[in-house]
């Protein structure tokens, strides 16, 4: 790194300050163009420009609270599916080249094909959210700012116990913006889809944590 730098600087000096300034400006322009292009692919309009998204997941999302609500504040596709931080964003964007490949291959280009893949695709998103402690949810929903008195009696209770147990948003809030794949719920014939353990990942119950909580009460 250092030796390279030295050689680079030496060469720069030889070429003169004018060239260095030009290089600097070119850098800014390149960076600006790169960023603009990346942000251009980070819009709802871009996401639903392919019919795989527009005809399937976007239609399901339109009636949910993240798309249409009292005050009109929205969370669009990239708000949940693309990280805000630069490095994770670039990593996700590179991974998205796989999605471009499958767009070309037409892997999910009919609703039937999409639904056949729904479980797998949903599992990928659940896993991604779980790994980052639901980072994209928490870009807006800061649970340090939860006012439990304002929440309903059910949500207030579940949020407090869940967060104390170390749960993350996606552990419970699955299928909030899109339809769910088949989920086994012990009704009728067994379903092929997500198992109860996948749908509600068991919280690693720290054996010592529980008696402590009881002690604190007593």
């Amino acid at each position: 790194m250092n030796t390279n730098n030295k050689g680079f600087l030496g060469r720069l000096r030889a070429l003169g300050w004018g060239f260095a300034a030009m290089l600097f400006i070119a850098g800014i322009l390149f960076w600006g163009a790169f960023n603009t292009a990346m942000e251009w692919t980070n819009r709802e309009a871009f996401c639903i420009s392919c019919h795989e998204m527009k005809d399937n997941v976007y239609q399901e999302y339109r009636t949910t609270v993240h798309a249409s609500n009292r005050s009109g504040v929205r969370a669009t596709c990239p708000d949940c599916h693309v990280p805000k931080e630069w490095v994770p964003k670039i990593i996700r964007k590179i991974q998205a080249s796989n999605e471009v490949l499958h767009k070309i291959l037409g892997t999910i280009d009919t609703p039937e094909k999409f639904n056949a893949k729904r479980l797998e695709l949903a599992k990928h998103e659940w896993e991604r959210m779980k790994k980052t402690d639901s980072r994209e949810c928490r870009n807006c929903h800061n649970f340090d700012s939860f006012d439990y008195a304002e929440q309903g009696r059910r949500s207030s209770k579940m949020h407090q116990t869940g967060l104390n147990e170390g749960k993350t948003c996606i552990d419970c809030h699955k299928g909030i913006a899109h339809q769910l794949p088949e989920v086994e719920q012990a009704i009728g014939a067994p379903k092929e889809g997500a198992t109860p353990e996948e749908f509600h990942p068991p919280t690693p119950k720290p054996e010592e944590a529980k008696p402590e909580a009881d002690k604190a009460k007593g």
Binding site: M158, P181, Q185, A186, I187, G188, A189
Partner: protein, 163 residues
């Protein structure tokens, strides 16, 4: 975008055909109806006060109240009421949102009321080890509440044993 328009055009065509055939039928049956009309002019009146042809008076929109503890029942065998909002709670082929809390496996964690054991029985009376598929659509019987003004007054009193 084109397809729905085409469909609705077809629908309109079907509706037009139906109106035409009804009009034809009426011309043939007209003498009979005319006689009936002159004999007994019946004045229809709906319980809800609106004209029989008109649609029900519009409410000011249903809004669910805040979550409540379980509500009392008013008659024997009444399906328990839903004491919370069910906005956005979908029951689809893939997933039943109600069961996500009220299933026996979930009720302890969520603090929800467990599904009644009566729901484990099939139409033929056979006891299953899981909820009977005929009970899948919860809100066919269980309904949420709002404090909407009743459209018609009534004098119903809860059963003596339920008060």
């Amino acid at each position: 975008m084109n397809k729905p328009t085409f469909n609705s055009a077809r629908l309109r065509a079907t509706a037009l055909a139906m109106t035409l055939s009804m009009a034809l039928a009426q011309t043939f049956l007209a003498p009979a109806t005319a006689v009936a009309a002159t004999e007994a002019p019946v004045k229809l009146q709906s319980l809800r006060g609106a004209d029989i042809q008109a649609s029900d008076p519009e409410g000011d929109g249903t809004r669910y109240g805040r979550d409540q503890p379980p509500l009392p029942r008013d008659f024997v065998q009444q399906p328990p009421l839903i004491p919370h909002t069910i906005k956005g709670y979908n029951i689809t082929k893939n997933f039943n949102k109600c069961l996500d809390c009220h299933a026996w496996a979930r009720a302890k964690e969520t603090g929800a009321t467990k599904i009644s054991v009566t729901h484990f029985k099939t139409r033929e009376g056979e006891e299953l080890s899981s909820v009977s598929p005929r009970r899948y659509f919860c809100n066919q019987c269980h309904v949420p509440q709002s404090d909407a003004k009743p459209l018609v007054g009534n004098t119903f009193k809860p059963g003596t044993g339920m008060r």
